[in-house]
């Protein structure tokens, strides 16, 4: 699972991944403590919880799980002085295809996560927290259990942590292996022992009616790690990293047709897609050219290398400036990728070269979402499998003229009409693949197969 250890690229700014692949680094708490570990927790206890919330708000850090919602704003939804207990859940259900960052934090630097979590719990007054880790990460769960025991031994968990008067227990909760458990309300249902059917919002916003219908904060692993560093350097200093509204660093997971796929950490917006592929990841494979990029995990809309993107940027004075650029010139940050019609998502950058059959690629994605749709609400349940069946039939030479339009229309009937964001997650690939590579779809639909399955001859 662990790729070849390599030293960080000079352009990287490793904060969260500081200790990943670091020579001599181990997961032992002794190693973490020798490196100044849990110092930020001690610092946090010198602050009032609301001060920490304010620092997180000032940092502008946005959720690293995929939606990019400002973390401080999310925390602000917890009403102080409530009578119900507050829960904090670390979402370690990293399931988005193309995304493999959280697992490295858990596998190589679990105490960073724990420290971030303890500080976060102190800030939102959660006395009980859970790490929801996907079922496919048994090793990660073991490492976390061990780290939790170590933290407890050292008095970082339990009663009256470091004499602060603050009590906290953290438990590892293992999922059973379903993508939908990464959706925060599905995750909560799963923790309650039910099928992970996402809840309707309103009324079930986790901050009000979360786990056991109590106020609950669900944050991604990377987001919680960031909290430690916000406390370390202060929200204002943190906000200087990256760009306005796109602050801090971002872990990027590059996969696909590049020379050096892997994980990297940059200030948000520091590099462009082209720089990432060519300078950081060693460029395309010999003789190949860039065809498309999915910039934020498989649910993000695909971007074509031949398209020109008109990016509207809001200036500090409130005006909007439109810039036209090619795919490779687009900086990887939340707002620019959104303006370009896709999203930064989970940080999973999937690169495709000119040998890739886009119908095959979409079918691969469709297969995943049809398999993972929870089946609760109609459009996603029926539409995800329908789209998969169409692309599969096209691949096997059974395409018909109207397939391309049908695909688009089915996707259009899903997006925006479902209980949770899975609707978009499964519709956006189809919508974007068909829009960007329409000719390929039309051609495949016309191609008649050999009757044995493949048109790729």
């Amino acid at each position: 699972m662990v790729s070849t250890i390599r030293t960080p690229h000079p352009r990287e700014k490793r904060i969260i991944f500081k200790n990943i692949d670091r020579p001599g680094w181990t997961i032992d708490i002794g190693c973490y403590l020798a490196d100044g570990g849990y110092d930020e927790l001690k610092k946090a206890f010198t602050m009032k919880p609301e001060q920490i919330v304010n620092e997180v708000k000032a940092s502008g850090v946005r959720g690293r799980g995929g939606a990019g919602f400002p973390c401080g704003v999310k925390w602000g939804f917890i009403r102080p002085g409530g009578t119900k207990p507050v829960y904090l859940i670390c979402n370690a259900d990293e399931s988005e295809p193309g995304t493999f960052k959280d697992r490295y934090i858990i596998h190589q630097d679990p105490h960073q996560l724990l420290e971030g979590m303890i500080i976060s719990c102190y800030a939102v007054n959660a006395r009980l927290a859970y790490i929801y880790i996907r079922g496919e990460f048994p090793e990660g769960a073991k490492i976390l259990e061990r780290a939790l025991a170590e933290a407890k031994e050292h008095g970082f968990l339990g009663k009256n942590i470091l004499g602060s008067g603050f009590d906290l227990e953290i438990y590892v909760f293992r999922g059973a292996g379903a993508y939908i458990c990464g959706e925060e309300t599905g995750l909560i249902e799963s923790m309650e022992g039910k099928r992970p059917y996402p809840r309707i919002k309103p009324p079930y916003f986790p901050a009000a009616l979360g786990l056991y219908l109590c106020p609950t904060i669900v944050n991604n692993v990377e987001t919680l790690c960031n909290v430690k560093h916000i406390v370390r350097i202060g929200g204002a200093e943190y906000a200087k990293m990256g760009k306005p509204n796109n602050t801090g660093t971002r872990l990027l997971c590059v996969s696909g047709d590049v020379q050096k796929p892997g994980y990297y950490e940059f200030e948000v917006g520091e590099i462009t897609i082209g720089e990432l592929i060519n300078d950081i990841c060693g460029g395309m494979k010999p003789g190949r050219t860039l065809k498309a990029v999915i910039p934020g995990g498989s649910s993000a809309k695909v971007m074509s290398a031949t398209d020109r993107y008109k990016i509207k940027t809001r200036q500090p004075d409130g005006t909007t400036v439109e810039t036209e650029m090619g795919l490779e010139d687009i900086p990887i940050d939340f707002d620019t990728l959104a303006a370009a019609g896709s999203m930064a998502g989970s940080g999973g950058v999937i690169v495709m070269d000119d040998t890739r059959d886009m119908v095959w690629a979409l079918n691969n994605i469709n297969e995943f979402y049809a398999h993972e749709s929870c089946g609760q609400c109609t459009p996603c349940r029926e539409g995800s499998l329908w789209m998969k069946k169409i692309t599969e039939r096209m691949l096997h030479g059974g395409g018909v003229e109207q397939d391309t339009d049908t695909l688009k229309s089915v996707a259009d009937n899903i997006a925006g009409r479902t209980i949770c964001a899975f609707g978009e997650a499964c519709a956006w690939p189809t919508q974007s693949f068909v829009a960007k590579f329409r000719d390929e779809f039309v051609a495949t639909a016309r191609k008649k197969g050999d009757g044995n399955g493949s048109t790729n001859s």
């Binding site: 059917y197 049809a370 109609t378």
Partner: protein, 557 residues
């Protein structure tokens, strides 16, 4: 807390209405005459919002810089529309809310959801019991298309699954709305149903080791919007559009659940619950629901008979009644007993009491039927009209308390004649030998038993779906039975039989219609003053406040 009558202003399709605070958006639309199609939503269950058929456009008032709603040229708030469609089944209305039920987006949503629901549906309407009352069919007319663009193979799922003794499941027809799951969990408190697998392969099933054997299981069939859950009893028996529907009440216990009886050509095919929040919400128990088949029995008593030369022989009603009158006149006061039934209507019981008074006997009672109450709908009193029998004095505060003395006096020979109305005397401890000893045994009944076989005069009567009349349920609610089918042969309405017996003893009494009987009751009983059968209506009338203190002793079971 605001007053419950607080009214909120809501704009629906451009028109402003006022609704009570707490009204669900989908209900507000319905009240405004804008029906919003839906599958998973059921007013008596929680709202999961899963079918997505009720998507509408929604908006809230736009607020100006002063944080007050911006007003348009019409002086009404300007609506800030939410770009995404919203479900209308899970949200209550709010002040100034805007709703669009007929926009292009809403129409597109409905067509989209309809198509999704149908692509994997077997479309086997010609052999599906739900046809004719299927929401998939109904909405297909409005939101479906004649042609399908689905070229793929449909998902295969389990079929003909016996979920329990009374409910059969076809998973391919299921649209996964979860109504049945929610009913079993939230209403029946027997959480045995759930979904297995996921995505389009999701299917409804009973949890491992569990069966859908609750006494309320058939309600899941009622609320299933499609043909997935069918009644094992009713399936394949009759096309629903052929059924004549008659509003009635269930007579299998003292709750008196409101029902609809479905008949065709005088045959009863099914009984389903009819909503009445004062009685049974929208539900009824399986026991009561299925307790109708005896009505269709081939053994029904069809002709009046009198005993001639040891054997019962068919005679005319005139002869039978004359014989009954003749026999009764021979016996004085306490030599006669009247054993009546709390399954009889108020009108029958009223006339029965007149008969008792005319005979002058102190030996009269009803036969109690007791079972276990289930904390839901089923009452411990399995007689539907004990309160009526008490109110009119056919029985006492302690129903059945006189039966022992009556049986003893029959055995000892002190009681020589018995009028048995709708009850089998072997159920109160008598045996054939005791019955044979009686000089006169005048029996009104519907099915043969030891008592009818021992009768000196046998008068064939009506089952509950065959008669009109009223009953008082355990909570003191006066409710109506309506005639759903005709009695077989020459069988007659019970109230007419008792009236005719009375006439044999007293001469003409001017009672021609059941309304005449009810008029007498209404004049005599203060709680029913001013009422008539038609005034009772389909939802019944509460005769006394539903509190323990306010309930008069006579109305306490």
């Amino acid at each position: 807390m605001s007053a419950p009558t607080e009214l909120l202003n809501v704009q629906i399709d451009g028109v402003w209405y006022q609704f009570k605070k707490g009204t669900r958006v989908i209900e507000a639309c319905a009240q405004a005459g804008k029906f919003v199609p839906h599958y998973c939503y059921h007013p008596k269950l929680s709202s999961p919002g899963n079918c997505r058929m009720c998507l509408i456009e929604m908006g809230m008032p736009k607020t100006g810089p002063d944080r007050k709603p911006e007003l348009g040229a019409d002086g009404k708030p300007v609506i800030n529309w939410i770009p995404r469609p919203q479900i209308s089944c899970a949200q209550d209305i709010a002040e100034g809310m805007g709703i669009r039920t007929d926009s292009q987006l809403v129409q597109e949503c409905r067509h989209g959801v309809m198509e999704f629901l149908l692509i994997n549906h077997p479309l086997d309407c010609p052999i599906c019991d739900q046809a004719g009352e299927c929401h998939l069919q109904e909405y297909s007319v409005e939101y479906g298309t004649a042609d399908s663009r689905f070229l793929e193979e449909k998902v295969k799922k389990p079929k003909r699954i016996e979920l329990g003794p009374r409910v059969t499941l076809d998973d391919e027809r299921c649209i996964l709305c979860s109504r049945c799951i929610r009913f079993m969990k939230e209403v029946a408190h027997d959480d045995v149903l759930g979904f297995a697998s996921r995505g389009s392969h999701t299917y409804l099933t009973a949890h491992p080791g569990k069966r859908l054997d609750s006494n309320y299981s058939l309600n899941t069939v009622d609320i299933c919007p499609v043909g997935a859950l069918t009644s094992t009893d009713f399936r394949f028996k009759m096309r629903v559009w052929f059924l004549k529907e008659t509003k009635s009440i269930c007579t299998s216990c003292a709750t008196g659940c409101n029902t609809i009886i479905g008949t065709r050509e005088n045959v009863i095919y099914r009984q389903t619950p009819r909503e009445n929040d004062a009685v049974n919400s929208a539900w009824m128990c399986d026991y009561g629901r299925l307790n109708i088949h005896y009505v269709n029995s081939a053994d029904r008593l069809k002709f009046p008979q009198i005993r001639e030369n040891q054997a019962l022989a068919n005679v005319s009603w005139k002869s039978a009644l004359a014989k009954a009158g003749e026999e009764l006149k021979q016996f004085q006061k306490n030599a006669v007993a009247v054993v009546a039934s709390a399954k009889m209507t108020n009108e029958e019981l009223w006339l029965t009491k007149k008969l008792i008074d005319t005979l002058g006997t102190g030996y009269h009672d009803i036969v109690p039927r007791a079972g276990e109450a289930d904390q839901l709908l089923m009452s411990a009193d399995r007689n539907p009209n004990t309160l009526g029998a008490q109110l009119f004095g056919v029985t006492t505060e302690h129903p059945g308390s006189k039966l022992q003395e009556i049986t003893e006096r029959i055995v000892s020979g002190e009681i020589k004649a018995v009028v048995a109305l709708g009850e089998d005397l072997t159920q109160i401890g008598l045996v054939e030998r005791d019955l044979k000893k009686l000089s006169a045994l005048i029996v009104a009944g519907i099915l043969p038993n030891e008592t009818t076989r021992s009768a000196s005069v046998l008068l064939p009567a009506c089952a509950f779906p065959e008669k009109r009349g009223t009953m008082i349920n355990i909570k003191g609610r006066l409710q109506r039975l309506n005639r759903a089918s005709q009695a077989p042969g020459e069988a007659r309405d019970d109230w007419e039989i008792i009236r005719d017996l009375l006439q044999q003893l007293t001469g003409s009494n001017g009672i021609y219609l059941i309304e005449d009987v009810f008029k007498q009751i209404a004049e005599a009983i203060p709680e029913m003053k001013g009422l008539s059968i038609s005034k009772i209506g389909d939802q019944g009338v509460q005769l006394v406040e539903e509190t323990e203190e306010a309930r008069p002793a006579a109305m306490t079971v």
